[in-house]
Symmetry: C2
Subunit: 232 residues, 2 copies
DNA sequence: GCGACTTTGTGAACGTTTGCACGAGCGACC
DNA sequence: GGTCGCTCGTGCAAACGTTCACAAAGTCGC
């Protein structure tokens, strides 16, 4: 079977960078750039060139020495490795501001994610159309998940409703959950849960900002340590 | 001056976890839990207890052996370390779905972030009130930043407008930027930029999902490797 | 005040990630 | 077809992060 699937395991740190490379490479394609060196890509992504090469080498990717990488082929390879070469069907629970922002987020359909439904329990939100999808009652979740064979659920509810949303998603048969609510939801083994808290990033940012301020006021006249972090 | 500021540098990995501990501890406070052990906190955060202790020890925190940590004091310490013990004034550029979601995001004011303005160039969005703040024209950005002494800018524009937004923010005097647009924005040294791409997380999730699927179909009858990742 | 028990704080071992440095392969040009 | 210059792929060492394991330091009951 599958002659070229799933090679050696790719390090988590690398997996986290692949989507960024992918995006940058897509931009290059739009600008009709056919070829790119690890050094150029590294500059775009604000990382080290050796890291780029090592990351790409995990995919068994072949660049050409003396030349660089074929952008189109690289895009193809990264997409395949991330599983973006087939369609992912997702549902969003919570049709508030965040749920609406996510439904309308262009990055999703672009990358092969189809939003099969947006759900809420608030009567006043039902039947509104957000991002081209009609908001349905949460009670219809299981049916849609089963019928459309949805494997990923996105939680965009307030904190208090997140665990319930997770339970319903899991019961419906979803196996991966992306949780935007600012709580830790628990799930049985075998369910992958990732958490994104918008305010966490802000807190990390203000930590660095604060650090810079106190450093500046304490170590006056000492040259500032290198700042300008980029990417996450 | 300042008898107890800025001790040894805290590892990035720890800084990224502190906001999560903080949130969990706040929940405990609401439930009138006055004391917590590293083991309990570790369970809540889905991490290892030794990691919790080490993380907390970087702050010079003192738990009590045989008892645990005083929740309230821990909250105080983490807040101070993250710089949440004073007010941060932020502005949001982009009043689309995401900008609105962010303005309305409860987690911000809760943690000492004040939204001083939401800006857009789309005439049709001006003067709408989102999250209690009136949308103003981007041309007013510099004035507000200067007047209110804003130090953090959030970019919630479409990809194409992000770099311009960043330039304007930097020119206005903002020193830290949180970028939600799916592009890498460049900034001079000394400006801290963090990037959050909502679709990156989804791609990491689908990578794992895909991996699980192919593993299941290839290594049938081999017990599944431990899954259920938690947190980011 | 003492012994049993609990939980912290941290040294040391281990694993992962990064970055350097350099050999190897490719294209271009003479 | 040989030489030169460029860029990949990767072994290795250093940096960083995680986990174990245990002494130290506390509580509690008697």
């Amino acid at each position: 079977m599958s002659p070229h699937r799933s090679r050696r395991r790719i390090p988590d740190a690398t997996v986290a960078r692949l989507p960024i490379y992918l995006q940058l490479l897509n931009e290059q394609l739009e600008n009709e750039v056919a070829n790119i060196s690890s050094d150029e890509l590294a500059n775009l992504a604000a990382v080290n060139a050796a890291k780029v090469r090592k990351d790409l080498s995990y995919m068994g990717s072949y660049g050409t020495r003396g030349v660089g990488y074929d952008v189109e082929y690289l895009v193809y390879q990264i997409r395949r490795e991330l599983g973006l070469d087939h369609e992912w069907r997702i549902v969003i629970v919570g049709a508030g501001n965040l749920g609406q922002a996510l439904s309308g987020y262009g990055g999703f359909p672009d990358r092969g994610y189809t939003i099969e439904g947006v759900f809420d329990i608030d009567e006043s939100k039902l039947d509104h159309v957000v991002g081209g999808v009609r908001v349905r009652h949460l009670d219809d979740l299981a049916q849609v998940v089963a019928q459309k064979d949805v494997s990923i659920g996105v939680i965009a509810t307030p904190a208090g409703a997140a665990q319930d949303a997770a339970n319903r998603l899991i019961k419906s048969g979803v196996t991966s959950i992306l949780n935007f609510a600012p709580v830790v939801v628990s799930a049985p083994l075998g369910i992958t849960v990732r958490r994104v808290d918008l305010s966490v990033e802000l807190q990390i940012l203000s930590y660095h900002e604060q650090r810079r301020l106190t450093a500046a006021s304490q170590l006056r006249a000492v040259p500032a340590e290198s700042s300008s972090h980029a990417s996450a």
